[in-house]
Amino acid sequence: MSARPETPPIEGRAGVLRSRAVLLAALSLALGLVFVASLGFGPADISTVDALAALAGSGSEPTRVIVMELRLPRALLGTMVGASLGLSGAALQGFLRNPLAEPGLIGVSSTAALGAVLTLYTGIAGAFTLALPLGGVAGAVIGVALLQIIAGRGGGALTLILAGIAITSMGGALTALILNLAPSPFAALEIVFWLMGSLADRSFAHVWLALPFMAVGWVMLVTLGRPLDALTLGEDTAQSLGFDMRRARTRLVLGTALSVGAATAMAGAIGFLGLVVPHLLRPLVAHQPGALLLPSALGGAVLLLAADIAVRLPFPGNELKLGVLTALVGGPFFLWLIVAYRRRLT
């Protein structure tokens, strides 16, 4: 109980800022590297160097077409989808004060896929192109709404996961139903895309279609930094610190729905990314939820692009689905998390 002299750790603040800047710079660098690397993978024999040359304007004509119309939009979309999943995962975990929350596990990706499938296979998206991402967003909103109803206030981690299982199952079953009822003979085979996700054969059309929705979603989520920090001690304390929790929740719901909804509409449901990325980065931001947002966006992009490279490695002409890879990595990770947090769950 001795009185200590007041020595405010002034270099502490600069230290914190510096370490944040270093983290962001490192993640940006990693993103740049994996982005460029991903341009060099694919069935055609075009290396990263060839691809960069093609971007600069030289190289044969087919190479230029392949790089500009196939590989470049694929890398861009991968960045956008990965950023959306990482960012929304960090935001959900911060808001729900639960390290097990992420858009895939709580069912948002599943309902988003359902919404997208509804607009695509019924022909609505053919008539009105924006319908596809809008369908995904609408589906995501419904998923979050369902989650609130089931797991709502006072629901602990276990309730959350169980609600997520229920919503994911319903979403998956309805998606399969629509695909089976669709007139096209290919529809039933495409369920694998919607449930497991893939960036194959995506074009710039998909990039431009998704970008406006995702951009708005990102802005909504990134500005949740302060409310999330305030929420560290619960809703009452956060409210007493001057933050409107209702508005924060609205921003969380809309931001997640817009970014994850658009991402799922373009690339199918990809799970576990929003779980793994924030968890890996949390120690690097001293566990502060607000500081985790932007790094999680960058980290999510890095991880998704890395996974997208990995799916093209084993069988060059016949790539794996992204969801397979994220589940192979994320599944055991999730199990480990459950074991580690066992006490908190029950």
């Binding site: 694919g42 069935p43 055609a44 024999d45 075009i46 004509e61 087919p62 190479t63 077409v65 392949i66 119309e69 196939l70 695509l120 296979y121 022909g123 998206a125 053919g126 669709a182 007139p183 096209s184 003979p185 290919f186 529809a187 085979l189 495409e190 895309f193 194959a200 054969d201 074009s203 710039f204 059309a205 002409g317 016949n318």
Partner: protein, 311 residues
Amino acid sequence: MKPAGGDARGLGRPWGAALAALLLALSLAQGPAGAVEPPKPRRIASLNVCTDQLLLLLGLRARLVSVTFLAADPSSSAMPEAARGLHLNRGRAEEILPLRPDLVLAGATAATPTVQLLRRLGHRVVVVPLATRLDDIPRNIETVARATGEQARGRKLIAEFRKELKRITAELPDARKGAAPSAMLFGPGGVTSGAQSLAGAIITAAGFTNGMASFGLAGVGRVSLELVLAARPRLLILSSLKRGNPSLARGLLSHPALGRAPAGRMMIRINHHVWACGTPLVLGAIRRLARIRARLAAQARLAAQERPIRP
């Protein structure tokens, strides 16, 4: 167990001889052993879209009780209007059993349980195998003609087919080895046809080399868009479906990468149903491709003439 002859002997010698004579007479009346000639079937059911079309081409619409629903679908059938008004089935036995068919035609890919069930119930089922070469077309026409008792019409159809095919291919430039330009088929979802496929046969008959064969593809397979673009076929054939029925596979055919047509590459769209069945209707596709072949040959000759003569 006593053999049957024993019973006849038991009945007495005269009865056994009479019985044997009766049996012999009956079997002789049926013609050569094993070849049963039934009366012409009047209630024909078809469980396969290719046999649907063969039957319609042989002019047997009046004797059909059921065709597949694909026969009326413009994506899958070259003659959808001809199937209008007919009972449409989805290839299941219980749909055609109430119609009491006296002949059922099925494709080799038809569900074998269905075929076995129908045969077990005593129906006559003739299986027409998938056509993978142009020669399979006359063979399949003959199979169907014989099964329906219309051999004459069948022979006529075959003769017309062969005559027209000869006429088309005669006009093609000399097929010097290596000079034939490459063509590739790109269907929904990247489905393509290799060497031993009907589509491949159509392409080679029209004077092209099948680009997919150089990838070692034998039958039907999937190829990625990147490989198709990198392979730079002289002619890219997009196999399209009718409007509507959206799917991701179909959307692939509208990928912007295909839109940027490089110099020297031609791209055409041919309706998917042309490749689906081995009927004389494939001649339309061969004719069209042969015309393109001729045009390419003419361009090559022109380019050769305009090339400055090297000293």
